[in-house]
Symmetry: C2
Subunit: 143 residues, 2 copies
């Protein structure tokens, strides 16, 4: 027995895909949608990750963020070992349903990035467009 | 003559890639990085798009957001015909340099999404996890 499909299939009808009330994730050739993750309180961008159907289903079912690790090729319940779980306050999906937006509350905000920071986006592209500045107050090397 | 490389190549040294001060975008197999686009004033998530090297270079050189249209397989200067240009206030890059965060000021905020909304993320995944609610006040069908 195969399990019931987790979601509806993407529709070839643009109106249904973009204006409809049915979740129809458009997974890419690798079976993934992009997940943009922000802090529900501050609105800050925390990270960008990817979800396969199982990760999206687990996230919806449990309210805890699950992703697909492309490097490990495995389901990734973020914080499962560190305790840095992300509780999902809201999920949105974009017009063509190939990207989701998770608003989360992080149990350990300083463990959001594997580099030990509260966001993965800690470097700004500098004025010359070729070098990077660490964000103000965020350069852990200088602390 | 081939042009000079636009950016440094990704480094196999994790420390250089994650802590270094050189822009080393890690384009994927399709030559793309993910671009997360937020409103510089409100912080709201506007859209998710993709950039190839040329789009990133044009964005850095002009301060106007350029993307790569995967559907049209072409460089996409957003708003070139509609006037809905995005002026880039800041660009950040993530730890492994495969995603960028653009904070923009949109010339025509209501034209951000091709559906005629000020964000592509106008639907929330409903409590049942399978259907979608339009965001409060954002359901253009009801207006």
């Amino acid at each position: 027995m195969s399990p019931a499909p987790l979601f509806a299939a993407p529709s070839s009808d643009h109106h249904e895909q973009e204006e409809g009330a049915v979740l129809r994730p458009r997974f890419d050739a690798a079976g993934l949608v992009t997940a943009v993750v922000t802090d529900v309180a501050s609105g800050d961008l925390l990270m960008v990750a990817h979800m396969n159907a199982e990760a999206l289903d687990r996230t919806l079912a449990t309210g805890i963020a699950h992703y697909w690790s492309r490097s490990r090729q495995a389901l990734w319940k973020k914080g499962e070992t560190s305790g840095a779980l992300q509780s999902v306050a809201e999920i949105r999906i974009d017009c063509d349903q190939d990207a989701v937006w998770l608003k989360v509350a992080a149990a350990k905000p300083d463990d959001t990035c594997h580099t030990g920071r509260d966001t993965c986006f800690y470097r700004r592209v500098a004025a010359d467009g070729r070098t990077l500045d660490a964000s103000p107050g965020r350069d852990s090397d200088a602390s």
